[in-house]
């Protein structure tokens, strides 16, 4: 499973780089990049850090941090 997650994270990183260069509108680019970043963070937290199987309080704490920070970054950029 961790090998699959690693490949997905690598591909999403390359996608992030290229989305920034596309002809899409600025708003769409930012939404896609932030969405991908949020997904990548959750993958690292769940599968690399191994929080997927620990008590929900820790998962909520980590989810809240990433959701809050990435949402506020989005607010500042849009």
């Amino acid at each position: 499973m961790s090998t699959f997650i690693w490949i997905v994270l690598m591909l999403l990183t390359i996608l992030t780089l290229f989305v920034g260069e596309t002809e899409l509108t600025r708003k769409h680019i930012i939404l896609i990049i932030l969405g991908v970043t949020f997904f990548k963070v959750q993958m690292i937290v769940d599968y690399f850090m191994g929080l997927r199987k620990v008590r929900w309080g820790w998962q909520v704490a980590m989810f809240s941090w990433s959701f809050l920070i990435i949402s506020l970054i989005g607010f500042a950029f849009l």
């Binding site: 992030t16 989305v19 690292i44 599968y47 690399f48 620990v54 820790w58 941090w65 920070i69």
Partner: protein, 192 residues
């Protein structure tokens, strides 16, 4: 509040203290990220112009490097859970080797920036660029020191499938370093 009360779930990887430290670190990085994002909102032209001076490829390469290094650390944890301490130490040394590529790329990037005349005093964008990336760089160094200690102990056979909290503690810190960069890269290098 005891977050470990539910025994039907797995234990928290590593030492509890490292998780308190990780959350403290994430809070500081979170504040720095938001300071960057909101400073940009009021200095849009300066930030967009400053970002053009950065080499996105360096940022992307460093993201791939840290993700790969994190993946190797996951393999090290899996190895020690199977009581394979030699494999554990090999994966950790491989993670350290990959981690050192991050250091090299970052130093090349800093050298190029300084040679082009950019430093902390250039403008608000470069002030944030140097503070954010150098603060993260110091965490990479600390993470590598921790992983080196864990790798040496694993090589000496000091961990086993019954005793691997130290490996998980070092691994958790290293994943945090990776996680922070995953946000820092699009924020500083890509989004405009």
């Amino acid at each position: 509040m005891d977050l470990n009360m539910d025994t039907s779930r797995h234990h928290l990887p590593g030492d509890l203290a490292i998780w308190i430290f990780i959350f403290a670190e994430l809070s500081v990085f979170g504040i720095l990220f938001l300071a960057f994002a909101f400073a940009r909102k009021y200095n849009l032209e300066m930030f967009n112009e400053g970002q053009l001076a950065l080499v996105k490829t360096y940022g992307a390469l460093n993201t791939l490097v840290l993700i790969t290094s994190s993946y190797f650390v996951v393999n090290a944890v899996n190895a020690i859970k199977s009581n394979l301490s030699k494999y554990c130490s090999r994966w950790l040394f491989a993670a350290l080797f990959i981690g050192s590529i991050f250091i090299i790329i970052k130093l090349i990037e800093y050298k190029e920036k300084f040679a082009a005349g950019y430093d902390l005093d250039t403008n608000v964008f470069f002030m944030f660029y140097f503070i954010l990336t150098f603060f993260h760089f110091m965490h990479v160094i600390l993470g590598m020191i921790i992983l080196t200690v864990v790798a040496i102990k694993a090589h000496k056979g000091e961990y086993s499938s019954q005793n691997y909290t130290g490996v998980e503690t070092g691994a958790s810190y290293w994943h945090m370093v990776d996680l922070v960069w995953v946000i820092l890269f699009p924020l500083v290098y890509v989004m405009r």
